[in-house]
């Protein structure tokens, strides 16, 4: 099986100062977080209600998730040593991990969460209009002659298609915006 997804770049990145230690710091933290989460969910699974007497003869509801949590925990234990095993591909992980998270990404995430948060209040149509106008502006687009026709035509078509053609119920929101 060919595992080379990064090609020469990955190999060269690996040669240029890959970590020499036995364990990798950030991956150790990641492994600890995963194991802690598995432990937490294992504890949650202990609180699953008891099935009825007759149904209790089946495999218990917590049995399968617990097996998965144990398997994930065991695999997570390998993560700190992965850079020693995956010499070819690990440099790609290091590269993407080290790339800074841009301010625009954080702002996009924040705005997305705000938009979803107020979506039910402003209604479905306005939510998609705000998305179509807001994201270009957020990403630095200032050509209004491009944004306005795009937002009007595109959201109009999408709204018509879903609301009228596909009969999807659109939440009107406080402004009562609806096509039907």
């Amino acid at each position: 099986m060919n595992h080379d997804t990064g090609g020469k770049d990955a190999r060269e990145a690996g040669l240029q100062g890959g970590p020499r230690g036995l364990i990798d710091g950030p991956d150790t933290v990641l492994a600890l977080v995963l194991i802690a989460l598995c432990g937490l969910l294992y504890w949650v699974s202990a609180g699953f209600p008891e099935p009825g007497l007759f149904l209790g003869e089946n495999v218990l509801p917590e049995h399968f998730p617990r097996l998965l949590l144990i398997a994930i925990g065991v695999l997570a234990l390998l993560l700190p040593f992965e850079h020693r095993l995956e010499v070819d591909r690990w440099p790609l992980i290091r590269k993407s991990r080290r790339a800074p998270i841009g301010a625009s990404t954080v702002v996009t995430m924040g705005c997305l969460l705000i938009l979803v948060g107020i979506g039910e209040w402003i209604g479905t149509i306005l939510t998609i209009v705000v998305a179509a106008v807001g994201l270009p502006l957020l990403w630095g687009e200032r050509r209004w002659l491009l944004i306005i026709p795009y937002a009007a035509i595109f959201t109009g078509i999408v709204t018509y298609l879903f609301s009228i053609v596909l009969s999807v119920y659109f939440e009107p929101g406080v402004f009562g915006l609806t096509l039907r």
Partner: protein, 502 residues
């Protein structure tokens, strides 16, 4: 014969042919646009199929799936920017040929190789799926559990940044599938009191979040890319001499691609890379690869499109997806009330012929669309990202909302997108997670049944030869990456020793 005619008749409706063509056009568009992928497009398109009949819905998604793989080769050849990962190998010889002023020839070679690979794999689908289903119908839950476990173990070998991370993501996907009411006992699991989670985590918003929103967040810090364009002259069908040169490459790659597609979890990208490598290995002009030779285009193109038909074999015959795109199609089939697997082919065998006909139409359609519109599709990369990605966001919002008209689903999409973005950063891809999410219910249902039948004893299960075979294959599949890692480490040490020696 009657069944075949019935199956073809199910697709021979102008409305269904229309939706297949729409699927093909969307597939070529998405395939041609770097950043957008077929799985993403399938995830975004699933909500549109809600009011359609199951056949129309699956035909449309199958059309998109076939065309999406081909679409990537247009931009790979004309601007050296593979629109989709399976087309990356095509760029190695396609772009140099186009730069020499033979863009039309390169596009023609890619199209004919793709269509041939696609059609040959469909013929294999037609022959292999019923045979496989006939065998699978004798499977007990123990065999099914072992098979699904083998499919999960194959995640260790799929392309990505790490085998361990692929496996963890796959298991997390399976774990996510346990959210909601446990069907056997009626007990609530991991719902944390959220009523909307009683029926499980909504599938479509998770797909859209992981494939579309996570990619959108990744793109938020990428600047506008300016590609060096090659003049796209009219597409030329391969000459007799070209046909002679590529015929064995196409046949070999079609077989290889179909086989790789059939393997659970392996997809078109691995097929394309192997198709290219094999074309080179069998060629007596090895040193010319990378300079723009026909075999370098035909090899990966025939293989990646053959993998699409191959991947449909386990999806339809076993209910085990052959690739991430077919995992999404499988999810859509379940959403439309179908239960893919041997009983579907046993009870409704005409369904297989209908899918075959839909994919055949899709292959012929993308050949026509590719020939007519290659130049236009290459211009798609001129669409500013500040318009392209907001459109994806609008589709993501409305697509997540449409299934149950619930804002909770948009929350799930947004959270899945943000989690998916951070997962990408630390080397966890969305594909294994989705495969786990799709395979999860199959694994758990059959595990529970098998444990009851075999008195909670795995050893008793292993007395069945097929279970033993699948467990053996699982161990081999998990050992594969370890062997590769050891080999890579040895090669690296050798390279370093050579460098030090110099």
């Amino acid at each position: 014969m009657d069944l075949m005619l019935t199956g073809f008749g199910m697709v021979a409706d102008p409305a269904i042919i229309g939706v297949i063509l729409i699927g093909v056009i969307i597939g070529v568009l998405v395939g041609a646009l770097p950043g957008l992928s077929s799985p993403m497009a399938i995830a975004l398109l699933i909500p549109f199929t809600i009011p359609m009949t199951p056949i129309a819905a699956i035909a449309m998604l199958a059309g998109l799936y076939c065309a999406g793989t081909f679409g990537g080769s247009i931009t790979a050849i004309l601007i050296n920017a593979p629109g989709a990962p399976p087309a990356a190998a095509t760029a190695l010889d396609g772009y140099p040929m186009a730069k020499r002023g033979e863009a039309g020839r390169a596009l023609g070679l890619a199209t004919i190789s793709s269509v041939t690979g696609g059609i040959l794999s469909l013929l294999i689908l037609l022959l292999a799926a019923p045979l496989l289903a006939r065998i699978a119908i004798t499977f007990t839950s123990a065999e099914y559990f072992a098979l699904a476990l083998f499919a999960l173990s194959m995640l260790a070998s799929i392309s990505g940044k790490s085998s361990i991370r692929n496996l963890i993501a796959g298991l997390v996907g399976v774990l996510l599938s346990t959210i909601g009411i446990h069907l056997t006992t009626g007990v609530e699991r991991f719902t944390f009191g959220v009523n909307e989670l009683y029926d499980g985590l909504p599938f479509v918003p998770v797909l859209i979040g992981l494939f579309a929103v996570a990619e959108l967040l990744k793109q938020s810090r990428v600047g506008e890319t300016v590609f060096e364009r090659v003049r796209a002259n009219v597409m030329k069908l391969p000459s007799r001499e070209d046909f002679q040169r590529i015929k064995y490459t196409v046949l070999r790659s079609s077989g290889l691609g179909t086989f790789i597609g059939i393997l659970p979890a392996e997809g078109a990208t691995v097929a394309a890379i192997m198709g290219y490598n094999e074309a080179r290995r069998w060629s007596d002009r090895k040193e010319e690869f990378g300079t723009g030779i026909p075999e370098g285009i035909a090899g990966p193109e025939a293989a990646n499109n053959a993998a699409t038909g191959g991947a449909m074999v386990p999806t339809l015959a076993l209910g085990i997806p052959g690739s991430v795109s077919t995992a999404l199609i499988l999810g859509a089939m379940v959403m439309h009330g179908l239960k893919p697997g041997p009983y579907l082919l046993e009870n409704q065998p005409q369904f297989l012929y209908a899918i075959f006909a839909a994919m055949l139409i899709a292959n012929l359609a993308f050949m026509a669309i590719g020939i007519a519109g290659a130049k236009l599709f290459s211009q798609l990369t001129l669409i500013p990202r500040t318009i392209l990605w907001p459109s994806v966001l609008v589709f993501a919002i409305i697509g997540s909302y449409a299934h149950s008209s619930s804002f909770f689903d948009i929350w799930v999409m947004a959270i899945a997108g943000i989690v998916g973005y951070f997962m990408l950063r630390i080397g966890f891809g969305p594909a294994p997670l989705i495969m786990g999410l799709v395979l999860g219910p199959i694994v758990e249902e059959n595990f529970s049944k098998a444990m009851i039948i075999h008195d909670n004893s795995i050893l008793s299960m292993m007395e069945r030869p097929l279970v033993l075979l699948f467990f053996g294959l699982t161990i081999l599949s998990l050992a594969g990456p370890v062997r590769s890692a050891i080999k890579a480490r040895r090669d690296r040490n050798l390279l370093m020793a050579t460098k030090e020696g110099e």
